[in-house]
């Protein structure tokens, strides 16, 4: 009985609502006329909840986000204990997200871990595997032997273990990073000697500087790691985002790990994920400020940014450049540029959007300006 009603209302009601109705009504014993009435009322409610034609949803979204935006405080958030590690929040972050910036001020990741690893055992080691490390991190002392044209580096063996590297591996890394240098490892002592005979003092100093910066382990670009306990499990927060590389690590839970870099998400997980990321990032800021904005306003903005399949910011290079009207584009930043290029291609403006009609002082085609009179 309910089945047939569901069939009847398919297409009229959204799938989610139909499923809910089906579940609830089958659980209860209800006669057909009553069930039908429930379906009919639901449909009416659904139609009433829809936005009326001609409602200026864009302006309402803009005002609904813009007005609370004026009350925002706190531009950055600092982590206790870790100097330098801070996150852009507040208005600057919202602007960053809505502008669709490629290089964001503070890229970050929340790296979730799979079951055995997220209990907190060896969490520091796992974190170190993600963090970019250079040879400098394990150096104890560097001696330059000018007489023999050699450099002796004393390392901390314990730290080498922390990075999950054996001496043989380290040797390989060094040989790869320093071409034309003989590497000899003896316990915690590394001896580096340039193989060419005509090496001079200058080269030795250059070598000394270079070896400190040799990338040893971890992901390049992830400058800080911070294991934190979230609910019952441990999560690694990072400064610097390398989503693709991090997802490839076997201990990382790839279903929950997120970055705050929208572009990186779009590249690796697709545009739908990026759209959700835009919404989440904006919500994060709004909730942190203790403000309330209806999610549909932000959904609308996120949809506008992602509807083309790529990320387009709310800027003159982004979605504003897609506007059909020359006058509308010219009224938003760099008018002369838009006018000249429109003149060169002989563009036409059909004057059928809001901004143009305000300019020429004609009724705007929203709200009461929508209906037209037609006579036979």
């Amino acid at each position: 009985m309910v089945e047939s009603l569901v069939k009847e209302y398919t297409g009229k009601l959204p799938v989610k609502l139909l499923g809910e109705l089906k579940d609830k009504l089958t659980a209860q014993k209800i006669n057909k006329t009553r069930a039908k009435k429930i379906f009919e009322t639901t449909l009416q409610e659904y139609l009433d909840a829809q936005v009326a034609p001609g409602e200026a949803v864009g302006i309402i979204a803009a005002e609904s986000i813009g007005e609370p935006g004026t009350q925002m405080t706190l531009n950055t958030f600092h982590f206790a204990g870790v100097s330098e590690m801070n996150v852009t929040t507040g208005l600057p972050r919202i602007i960053e997200v809505f502008d669709g910036r490629k290089n964001i001020a503070t890229p970050m990741m929340d790296v979730y871990l799979k079951a055995p690893y997220n209990k907190g055992k060896d969490i520091r080691k796992l974190a170190l595997l993600i963090k970019q490390s250079t040879l400098q991190d394990i150096i104890k002392e560097v001696n330059t032997d000018l007489m023999n044209g050699k450099i002796e580096v004393e390392i901390l063996s314990a730290k080498l273990d922390d990075h999950g590297l054996a001496q043989a591996q380290l040797k390989k890394i060094l040989e790869k990073g320093l071409k034309g240098v003989n590497v000899k490892i003896d316990g915690s002592l590394i001896t580096l000697a340039p193989s060419s005979k005509e090496s001079n003092l200058n080269d030795l100093y250059k070598l000394k500087e270079k070896l400190k910066k040799i990338h040893m382990s971890g992901l390049k670009g992830v400058t800080h790691v911070l294991p934190v306990k979230r609910d019952e499990e441990f999560v690694i927060m990072t400064a610097g985002s390398k989503l693709k590389e991090v997802l490839e690590l076997e201990f990382v839970d790839e279903t929950r790990t997120v970055s705050n870099d929208i572009y990186e998400i779009a590249e690796n997980l697709g545009i739908e994920a990026a759209r959700t990321a835009v919404m989440n990032e904006v919500f994060k800021v709004i909730n942190a400020q203790g403000l309330t904005i209806d999610e549909r306003h932000i959904v609308l903005v996120a949809d506008m940014m992602c509807v083309t399949g790529g990320i387009k910011g709310i800027t003159r290079y982004g979605i504003v450049s897609e506007k059909a009207s020359v006058l509308a584009r010219a009224s938003f930043e760099t008018p002369i540029k838009h006018l000249i290029s429109a003149a060169l291609t002989g563009e036409e403006d059909y004057l059928n959007s809001v901004v143009e009609n305000v300019m020429i002082n004609q009724p705007i085609p929203t709200g009461t300006g929508m209906p037209k009179l037609s006579t036979k």
Partner: protein, 600 residues
């Protein structure tokens, strides 16, 4: 070994800086070296700095020796008898000036009771903590610092008796308070600054009481009877001036009654206040648009042909008239000469201002408010003695601001008024509140300053005892009469044909970009169009080429300058601003064509 610098120049070293510095100080106090010298020992650098240059801010302090100030009882008596002057004390080394650096080495006691053997100096008066204007606030040590600051700032904006020779001065834009009084609760600074010679407020009866919500959010309710008796009444003076400018070719402006044949002659009615010399007579009651100084200027372009052809030397009318919204009585006329020897004329205007709704008043403690309601005397609450308050102050202004001195003045003012004496409210040195309360009790009042009040309209006794007393209130120079502005129709700008901006130009209030958005958000399309109709224009557009045509007033017909007389022209409604931007496009080398289509 400590290095020694004199005026930032290295001059030597010393083994024992303590005795070295002490020697300098001793000589200074004995007046053997100039008292302009200051010494400072920098411990981390182990360096002695001696300074005797000018432009160092210095302040006087009483010298303390072994925990005793050198300014003792004997000296005090001599000073009181005028036997000793400030300079004498300075010469005797009782008082010395310290600069900012030497203060670093000094330990200064704020009060005499706080003195210990370690102290080197004593403040001359604790009042030195605050500046001159802040010292004018009674009981300053009973209030929040921020409020004191606001109180002293606002005091500077108060109307008062600013100069005794005001009647012969030509001041621009000044106010004069009628019946300015000396405050009952005063401070030492009132005495020092001869405040009674230039007071700027009035002692009025204030009740802390709400009145039908008309004094919420810092508003105040004022007794109409008090206003009629002169409370807050002031005069506003403003000059109108004219100068006989000289132009090339020996031509000059002429102040005088303009001839009827001058260019731009107004109606005779407009010149009715002018006497034969072209100047308004004193005590004339003028309104906006009336001419106060008649003036004519030589023709603007001498070379212009038609001026020669018509022979007569047409002079231009350039009289000074009362600007929009102004008016008043002519106070006096000043005829003089300026630096260039040109004839200069000032007409001083006077306008009487009685307090009206929106005028700003303030007590001396940053408790400012605007008038929210003016109540007839008969409707004001009254006390058993028949006292009606002049002003009702909302109790909600007190808790969050914590201006305790506002409350203390109410009691002090009441005591002073009833006892017939002035109350000393000097910060840190005031008459104690406790004694004032005791005195008030002796005068037959409740010691906490409250009284039984009766509703002025019903005669019913108010349940609560109302805190009522005398306070010194100030009228501030921000008055509605200077700000009030409205417009229905009015002047427009020449270029854009949009309404002018600003009160002086009788302008409109701009409905800006964001306000526009609210109309769009509400979907009130036609209301938005109507709002922006202020620069509505009907423009002839050529149907052939899409350019804007020209209307020929003689033929009563429009034509297109490009396509000629016979092209079809349609009259299109648009904002003049849009017509302007189309013109601007053309100046950019862009050809904007309007393609017309039938709407239906």
């Amino acid at each position: 070994m400590s290095e020694v610098f004199l005026n930032s120049q290295h001059v030597g070293e010393t083994d024992n800086w303590q005795s070295f510095i002490q020697a300098i100080k001793d000589e200074r106090r004995k007046n053997n070296v100039t008292n302009n010298v200051n010494v400072y020992y920098d411990k981390p650098l182990d360096t002695v700095y001696i300074e005797n240059t000018k432009w160092r801010a210095r302040r006087p302090l009483i010298v303390v020796k072994d925990g005793k100030p050198l300014f003792d009882e004997i000296l005090k008596k001599q000073v009181e008898k005028n036997e000793l002057s400030w300079d004498d004390l300075l010469k005797q080394g009782v008082i010395e000036y310290l600069d900012a650096a030497e203060e670093e080495n000094a330990l200064v006691a704020f009060l005499e009771e706080e003195l210990t053997p370690e102290h080197t100096h004593l403040e001359i008066t604790p009042l030195g903590l605050v500046g001159i204007t802040t010292a004018l606030l009674p009981y300053g040590n009973f209030s929040h610092g921020v409020r004191l600051l606001q109180g002293s700032k606002n005091q500077k904006q108060a109307l008062g008796f600013y100069a005794a020779n005001y009647s012969v001065r030509m001041d621009m834009d000044v106010n004069l308070l009628v019946n300015a009084q000396k405050p009952i609760v005063n401070t030492l600074m009132h005495e020092l600054s001869d405040y009674d010679k230039h007071p700027s407020g009035q002692n009025i009866i204030v009740a802390v009481l709400s009145y039908k919500g008309y004094n919420m959010e810092d508003a105040i309710v004022i007794n109409k009877g008090s206003i009629e008796r002169g409370l807050g009444r002031s005069f506003y003076y403003r000059p109108n001036s004219a100068e006989e400018l000289r132009y090339a070719g020996g031509l000059t402006d002429e102040i005088g009654l303009p001839d009827k044949d001058v260019k731009g002659y107004r109606s005779e009615e407009d010149y009715k206040f002018l006497e034969d010399d072209g100047i308004v007579y004193p005590e004339a009651r003028v309104k906006e648009g009336d001419v106060v100084i008649g003036k004519t200027s030589p023709p603007r372009f001498l070379s212009s042909m038609d001026d020669y052809n018509l022979m007569t030397n047409f002079r231009r009318e350039s009289s000074i008239n009362i600007s929009h919204g102004d008016g008043g009585t002519v106070d006096f006329v000043l005829l003089t000469e300026n630096e260039e020897g040109n004839k200069l004329l000032h007409v001083k205007m006077r306008e009487e201002r009685t307090p009206e709704i929106g005028d700003k008043f303030i007590s001396r403690y940053g408790q400012k408010g605007v008038i929210g309601l003016i109540v007839p005397h008969s409707d004001m609450p009254f006390s058993t003695n028949g006292i009606t308050p002049d002003l009702l102050f909302s109790p909600h202004g007190i808790p969050s601001r914590m201006t305790m001195n506002h409350l203390i003045e109410l009691v002090a003012g009441k005591t002073g008024a009833m006892a017939g004496r002035y109350i000393n409210g000097t910060t840190f040195d005031a008459e104690p509140e406790k004694e004032l309360r005791q005195e008030l009790l002796g005068l037959g009042f409740r010691e906490n300053g409250t009284e039984t009040l009766y509703n002025g309209q019903t005669g019913q006794q108010l349940e609560a005892k109302i805190f009522i007393g005398s306070m010194y209130y100030l009228k501030l120079k921000h008055m509605v009469a200077n700000r009030i502005h409205s417009r229905a129709r009015g002047p427009i700008q020449l270029l854009t044909r949009q309404p002018t901006e600003g009160r002086a130009k009788e302008g409109g209030l701009r409905l800006g970009e964001m306000e526009k958005d609210t109309f769009v958000a509400h979907g009130t399309s036609l209301l938005l169009k109507e709002r922006f109709d202020s620069d509505k224009a009907t423009v002839p557009v050529c149907e052939t080429c899409g350019l804007i045509g020209v209307y020929n007033e003689f033929k009563k017909k429009s034509f297109c300058p490009v396509c000629g007389d016979n092209s079809e022209i349609s009259n299109i409604d648009m904002s003049y601003a849009f017509k302007l931007i189309l013109d601007e496009f053309k100046s950019l080398g862009i050809l904007p064509k309007i393609v017309l289509k039938d709407k239906y």
